[in-house]
């Protein structure tokens, strides 16, 4: 099986982002960069499938030279190859990223193109579906289970209050959700092997963006709350506040 896993470098989940003085981007200083956590479910899925059926996992990411450390971190899980499509660190329009990825993906014969369900920085959840449209491939997003029988696939995806079961044929695009598998730890051997892999570099063919960030802001701050009391004795007071002050129950 020939599998592509498209990943994005994002700030670590512990990050408390600060807005740059231009008001339109976050301050990059001091941020620890990681592989977006949902992408790790995609890498794990790719590795499990190739371990069972043979084949290769290629990590693909779009960005400047500086994302190579994060690409190597993805490789360290056990992936075989990597491609960096050269481009800017921040692209606000998912259409531009999707077209940039699709231009490279269509030149190679992948049986599966995997993504995380969304990057945890811009939370867009758009690119997998757009890449599928660009390549005219079947696509299932937010997948928590995947069964393959040769070229036939059955996937389960999360919906409100339940799950959908969908059927389709490979090649296909899948976006992965937590629950699909348990991403493996990077072994020392994997980290060493990743250092030796040559990351192929391809110039990005990127269009002008149709999305602009006008302003970033911090979410509205709530006034400080209050401690109603201690232990079960405080319950009647809490109940009264919820009913009469907040009027929510």
């Amino acid at each position: 099986m020939n599998i592509a896993v498209c990943i994005k470098e994002v700030p670590d989940t512990e990050t408390r982002p600060k807005i740059h003085e231009n008001g339109k981007e976050i301050q990059k200083e001091g941020i620890k960069w990681i592989v977006s956590p949902y992408d790790e479910y995609a890498i794990e899925l790719g590795l499990q499938l190739t371990e069972k059926q043979g084949g290769e996992v290629t990590i693909i990411s779009l960005g400047p030279k500086e994302i190579e450390a994060t690409i190597r971190s993805a490789l360290a899980m056990g992936a075989h190859k990597a491609v960096r499509i050269d481009g800017p660190k921040v692209i606000n329009d998912p259409l531009v990223v999707a077209r940039g990825l699709a231009a490279v993906l269509k030149t190679r014969n992948f049986d599966l193109i995997l993504f995380g369900k969304q990057a945890i920085d811009d939370d867009n959840a758009q690119i997998p579906q757009m890449v599928a449209e660009a390549l005219e491939l079947p696509c299932v997003s937010v997948v928590v289970k995947l069964d393959l029988q040769d070229k036939s696939a059955v996937a389960e995806r999360e919906i409100e209050g339940g799950k959908e079961k969908l059927t389709f044929q490979l090649p296909a695009v899948i976006s992965c959700q937590k629950g699909l598998n348990e991403p493996r730890y990077r072994s020392l051997k994997g980290i060493m092997a990743a250092k030796k892999i040559v990351i192929e570099e391809i110039p990005g063919a990127l269009e002008p963006e149709k999305v602009a960030i006008e302003k970033l802001s911090y979410p509205p701050q709530k006034p400080p709350g209050r401690i109603v009391g201690k232990g079960a004795e405080a319950v009647p007071e809490l109940f009264k506040l919820l009913r009469e002050e907040a009027k929510v129950i």
Partner: protein, 323 residues
Amino acid sequence: MANILVIYEIRENKIKKISLEATNAAVQLSRNLGGTVSALLMGAQLDGLAAIAGEYGAQKVYLLQHQDLEKHSPDVYARLISEIAQEISATHILMGASAMGKDVLPRTAFRLNSPLAQDIVKFEMQNSKVLYTRPIIAGKLQAQLSLQGEYQLATLRPNVFPAVKNPVQPEIISLKKAVPFPKVQVQQITASEAGKLDVTEAEIIVSGGRGMQGPDNWNLIQNLAKALGAATGASRAAVDAGWREHGEQVGQTGKTVSPKLYIACGISGAIQHQAGMASSKYIVAINKDPEAPIFKLADYGIVGDVFEILPKLTEEIQKVKNQ
């Protein structure tokens, strides 16, 4: 003139509430932009639904009824929506930021070569330009976007825009279209538990964390949730420990929620959890550690043992319900 097209989501012959919220948002937007609000309903059985769209302010209701639409297919939906948007000269396309909306509209945006703002919480006008506000980094920041394209697409976060009635007598237009063969098709939908509410749709959420000490104690969370008609949520710690399903997880690697009341039980309130629930209207925290960060965020806090406090709170609520 704007022509704002709202894509309806219908499950088991019922219109989802988020579609009515989106209709109301479209009405507000049309007041600012001038123009028409249209609704598009697709499915195998649409009897009686057009009138509901009219009650919420859709001036034109397009119905595409076809037996091949009985099973949902995201690629078929995207194709039909983009064809219809072009045929009726839509300018803006709105849909709920539900599992379906967030899946279908990116495909539609690609087909229309137009930008999409996903999961928006606010519209603002700047001269004649619409600015779309959406939380990013799981709500740690908000981004205000402008979109440039022949069409502007947006999905709306559930529970943020009110579903207010704006009754009009809608013009109902039945569409005849060939339904293409699907690349992907939903074969089956399974509910996680009978009648269970999803955290993203619920108005009240009772959520448990590590302080619940194990899955066997979740009946305390469930009893309170039942008394309140609430959904049950969980922190990452509780999900990673295998106590609860990931579908319930609230936070940066789970769901982002905006209920009117969020009750955090035995949850310390790590930044990743806060990111998923800080936009709740009211937050109640119950935790035995008075230093827990969740208390900084909570409107009302009780310091103490969840195992004593939860049954008492459930009892108080049931007392009132029974009166």
